[in-house]
């Protein structure tokens, strides 16, 4: 095992300067829920573990300029408990309540889940359909990255070595409703086999605008643009939704792993999409 060090900055500038020096050898802990697992299994071989709990700069859940902003240091449990989120983003809240289990929610953060960049990171599809952005900082300044452009492969993203996520933000939903379906292997804590998030603006079941995000069926979570185009402008009923959902199979490239076969993921994805669309339209199951 390599040597590990520990660092707890009290100011953002301290953190950014450290990151500028250490690059990827400085690992941000946020809730810390994944890092020890990686260390114990040997995937991380040394560096500095950075505890950001004292950083006020990455705390806070606020409404600003028509967006909801969630600081990178906010625990998922706190996001769920936030009055602001309850009122203004119930869709995200409901999705987060399915995240892992209460113990993990007391330790994990949205930023951490995003930085982890797993294709099955459960916070990602709902944030994608909310058209979320990630605000980062480094010694060179700030940057805003659309979440849709953030991921480049399993566990990989566009973050530079000295860059740190400061907050996650998304525009206040202007109209429409969301749907979120997660397929796991048990009702309790479960890594997703696949998941679908939908945000639809509809007028009596005719789709004016729709956003679809998929998890667990490709190297990264993604927006299903082809399916979105297929649904847009359509007048939907149960059968039409089912028909249109089949298109999603063209946009995905799932793998076989310990949880499920590629074939199952491929063939069940349309069903998940159909369910999520029906949820967004308020259709009875």
């Amino acid at each position: 095992m390599g040597e590990f060090r520990f660092f707890r900055p009290t100011e953002l500038k301290e953190l950014l300067d450290f990151k500028a020096r250490e690059g990827s050898r400085a690992r941000i802990l946020d809730g810390g829920s994944n890092v020890l697992v990686y260390i114990n299994e040997g995937s991380i071989a040394g560096g500095t573990l950075v505890d950001v709990k004292s950083l006020d700069a990455i705390k806070g859940i606020a409404e600003r300029d028509g967006r909801l902003e969630i600081g990178a240091g906010e625990l998922i449990a706190d996001v769920i408990d936030s009055e602001l989120i309850k009122k203004k983003a119930p869709f995200l809240r409901e999705a987060l309540q399915k995240f892992a289990n209460p113990l993990v929610r007391n330790m994990a953060t949205l930023a951490g889940n995003i930085a982890d960049s797993s294709p099955i990171g459960d916070t990602i599809p709902p944030l994608l359909v909310l058209e979320a952005e990630v605000v980062t900082a480094s010694a060179n300044g700030e940057r805003v990255i659309a979440l849709e452009e953030f991921f480049t492969g399993p566990g990989q993203n566009v973050l530079e070595e000295q860059e740190v996520i400061c907050k996650v933000r998304f525009p206040l939903p202007a109209g429409g409703k969301g749907g979120h379906v997660k397929l796991g292997l048990r009702r309790g804590t479960s890594c997703s086999v696949a998941s679908v998030a939908v945000w639809a603006v509809a007028d009596k079941n005719t789709v004016k605008d729709i956003r679809i995000a998929l998890g667990g069926v490709a190297p990264t979570a993604l927006r299903a643009r082809k399916s979105e185009a297929a649904f847009k402008g359509q007048s939907l009923d149960w059968d039409r939704i089912e028909e249109l959902s089949q298109r999603v199979m063209e946009e995905i490239s799932p793998i076989t792993d310990v949880r499920a076969s590629a074939e199952y993921r491929k063939k069940v994805c349309p069903a998940l999409l159909a369910k999520a669309v029906r949820q967004a339209l308020g259709m009875e199951e």
């Binding site: 048990r186 890594c191 949880r259 499920a260 076969s261 199952y264 159909a274 199951e285």
Partner: protein, 769 residues
């Protein structure tokens, strides 16, 4: 008489429970000694290989490492256990195990070397410094392939290491009479025990030169195995069994104890060893996966006429208890039904997969998955109610089974089945994509070990001067309340409160050996031994009190700290007075008693035609669940479990065992599968091997029935293993009810349901994908 029990049959809040709730219990890993070293096991990363070179020198040289042991350092590295009862052409009659690999690796995870170091971190670092060079050897992973003569041989020259048969009547004639026949091949999963406490222990050499091993043990008699491996007298090894954080058979075979004793003995220092969760996965035995090919026939009025089965179990890389597990499967294979014509051929086959051995249910459980699906499918074919069909065929007291054993206790299966099904209440509403299904399963499961083993259990009860008592028993407690049962039995017989009875247990040199906590034998054996010893003590007291009270001793009873005249309760004397009198005359109120299970001759041939078990517990479970027809996901909505347990000792405990059995059995049926791909483990931790959480198990209704006809104390039957067997099959039958498709491959995952539904849809409308 049942109604006059003071302690047993009530809801007892046990003494151990209080300690557990307070966090006071010192589990195996919680124990530390000064100067203690930390052990680690170096394991093979090949499923079938020869070790060409092994270099531990770098590990030995790491500062802080005190010893690194290989097979050369083990005085008796190969141990041999005779497999009793096999007479014809099978492979090993002797199960050979190796403590550490000398040359040939037979499964991924097999132990090659032991490290003891000054800290867990150094021990872990030293693991990385051991260098191994492997030469790949041919391997086989499918037991059906492994049965073929050309398959690579795991040991000796035959991979089939056990064969058992049932032969009764003439199945050809039987099937000729059948109006309905059901044929299916079932597969059951390799299940991991997944008890929450990992295997762990500490070993040290005490000031009298005795090697002490304090560890989570289901079998404290393993001091003999340790002594054999080390080449020391058995009297120089002491096993202290801790209160276990679950076992379920996983702590029954040798786990950490031999490794611990070796390291302590070699270093002269205390050593602690705890398996990691991953190691529990790839380093320890599992439940046998089975392939069960069944053919069952019945006449149109619902009488079973014939049953034929071919059963194959995957024994993994070492024999362990596979032959015995197969006996259980064979004897239980018919289900609790009277069938006139039976032909069963069962084989257990070695492969390069992880070894398989004891797990709650012990072979009886896999058979339920087959026979209860068969019964439901038969009922469907005959257009009969599934309970009615079964009721026409249940065994009764006095019947002789297909293995030629007489049923000598009550069979309340119909009561159990109806109680369980009724307890589900009104049916839940489904939806467009949610189909509700209900199903139930009946099962029988033996309690008590095989009767040719001359099983015994000892117990020593001592009444103190003030009327409190000490019970010494070797019985281990794996969380099933074995110690509490013993306490309750003694309290009942001696007329005391449970708080006045101290149970000291599970020490191979201090407490009389009570045998293993396995085979649902603990209440039956150690409960009966405690009852015998307590009754002996009671007799010493009543004989003395008889003189004082002027009444025959048989007319006296111990109740509520007094010796009372049965016909005339106002006449009594304080218990402490009687005790004092006994002591004055040197008649110490203590007794060391041995309970002997009834003996039957060993199985004389591969065709089992002899009684094998003392008795059986009969019960049923019913489930209601919802299947999402779009994804295959299952949501379990309701559950009921009903068992005749003879006589409850502690009602809380009985229900607790039943409910725990539901959860563990539900896992077997719906989600648990220890996967190996070409012998390489895929699901070695609790992240990938999923067991039911609180959201996966519904509210459970437990119905405890008491026929009083068991062989245990006060007419009790065992519940530990019976509680689990019917659960998975109940869920399987409920799924069949929901979607109209029989899925024969357990666990029945969403993926399997999804594709079964698609296949059924395609067949139905003949469309092309």
């Amino acid at each position: 008489m049942k109604d006059s029990y003071s302690v047993i049959g009530t809801r007892i809040a046990g003494m151990d429970e209080k300690d557990k709730a307070l966090g006071n219990v010192v589990f195996a890993e919680d124990f530390t000694l000064p100067g203690m070293l930390h052990g680690k096991v170096f394991r093979a990363t090949k499923a079938s290989a020869r070790i060409k070179g092994l270099d531990v020198s770098k590990a030995r040289a790491l500062p802080g490492v005190v010893c690194v042991l290989t097979a050369e350092d083990v005085p008796n590295n190969e141990s041999v256990k005779n497999v009793v009862g096999q007479t014809t052409e099978v492979g090993l009659l002797e199960a050979k195990h190796q403590v550490l690999v000398r040359e040939r690796v037979r499964y991924w995870g097999e132990a090659i070397a032991l490290i003891a170091a000054e800290s867990p971190v150094i021990a872990r670092d030293a693991l990385k410094l051991i260098e191994v060079e492997y030469e790949d050897l041919p391997a086989v992973f499918d037991p059906l392939e492994a049965m073929k003569p050309e398959a690579p041989k795991i040991h000796g020259n035959n991979n089939v290491i056990a064969s058992w048969k049932l032969r009764k009547g003439d199945v050809e004639k039987g099937f000729a009479q059948a109006d309905a026949i059901v044929e299916n091949t079932y597969r059951t999963p390799r299940q991991e025990h997944a008890h929450i406490e990992p295997e762990s222990g500490v070993a040290w050499i005490d000031d009298m030169g005795v090697i002490n091993v304090r560890y989570a043990a289901q079998v404290i008699e393993h001091y003999r195995d340790i002594a054999t491996v080390l080449g020391v007298p058995e009297s120089r090894v002491r096993v202290i069994g801790t209160l276990m954080g679950g076992g379920f058979g996983g702590k029954e075979d040798v786990t950490v104890e031999v490794f611990l004793a070796l390291m302590a003995w070699k270093t002269g220092l205390p050593v602690k060893l705890t398996f990691t969760r991953e190691e529990m996965g790839y380093g320890r035995h599992k439940r046998h996966p089975y392939v069960l090919k069944y053919k069952t026939g019945a006449t149109k009025d619902g009488k079973l006429v014939a049953m034929e089965a071919q059963i194959v179990s995957d024994a993994g890389a070492y024999v362990y208890l596979s032959p015995w597990v197969l006996i259980y499967s064979t004897v239980h294979s018919t289900g609790p039904y009277l069938i006139p014509n039976v032909k069963v051929d069962a084989n257990s086959v070695l492969t390069n997969n992880i070894m398989t051995s004891a797990f709650r249910g012990f072979g009886g459980m896999q058979a339920v998955a087959a026979y209860e699906a068969q019964m439901d499918d038969l009922a469907e074919k005959l257009g009969m109610d599934p309970i009615e069909l079964r009721a026409k065929n249940f065994l009764k007291k006095g019947d002789i089974t297909a293995s030629y054993q007489e049923i000598t206790s009550e069979v309340w299966l119909e009561k159990c089945a109806r109680a369980a099904v009724d307890a589900l209440g009104p049916k839940s509403k489904g939806g467009k994509t949610k189909k509700i299904g209900r199903g139930f399963a009946c099962a029988w499961q033996s309690y008590g070990r095989m009767t040719y083993l001359h099983d015994t259990s000892n117990c020593w009860v001592n009444l103190e001067m003030d009327g409190s008592a000490v019970v010494r028993t070797g019985i281990p407690d794996l969380g099933g309340g074995q110690r509490e049962s013993v306490r309750a039995v003694a309290a009942e017989v001696l007329g005391l409160n449970i708080e006045e009875i101290h149970v000291i247990s599970t020490d191979s040199q201090v407490t009389p050996l009570s045998g293993t906590v396995t085979a649902t034998r603990a209440l039956y054996m150690s409960g009966n031994a405690t009852k015998l010893a307590s009754e002996n003590v009671k007799r010493i007291i009543t004989e003395k009190a008889a003189e004082i009270l002027g009444v025959a001793a048989e007319k006296l009873d111990l109740k509520d700290h007094r010796v009372v005249v049965l016909d005339d309760p106002k006449r009594s004397m304080p218990l402490v007075e009687a005790i004092k009198q006994c002591h004055f005359e040197g008649k110490v109120p203590q007794s060391l008693a041995t309970f002997r299970a009834p003996f039957t001759e060993p199985i004389s041939s591969d065709v089992i035609k002899d009684p094998v078990f003392p008795d059986f517990t009969f019960g049923a479970q019913a489930a209601e669940l919802e299947v999402d027809t779009e994804t295959g996901e299952v949501k379990v909505l309701k559950w009921a479990t009903a068992y005749d347990i003879g006589q409850a000792i502690n009602v809380n405990r009985v229900e607790g065992q039943m409910e725990g059995g539901v959860a563990q059995g539900l896992g077997f049926g719906l989600m648990e599968d220890y996967l190996e791909v070409k012998g390489v483990p895929w699901t070695w931790n609790l992240h990938d091997y999923i067991i039911p959480t609180s959201k996966d198990v519904p509210d459970i209704k437990s119905i405890v029935l008491e026929s009083g006809s068991g062989k245990g104390p006060f007419g009790a039957k065992g519940i530990g293993e019976p509680a689990i067997s019917a659960a998975g099959p109940a869920a399987a039958n409920a799924i069949k009810d929901a979607i109209g498709v029989r899925i024969t491959h357990l666990p029945i995952t969403a993926e399997r349901i999804f594709f079964a539904l698609r296949e059924a849809r395609l067949k139905a409308d003949g469309s092309v994908e």
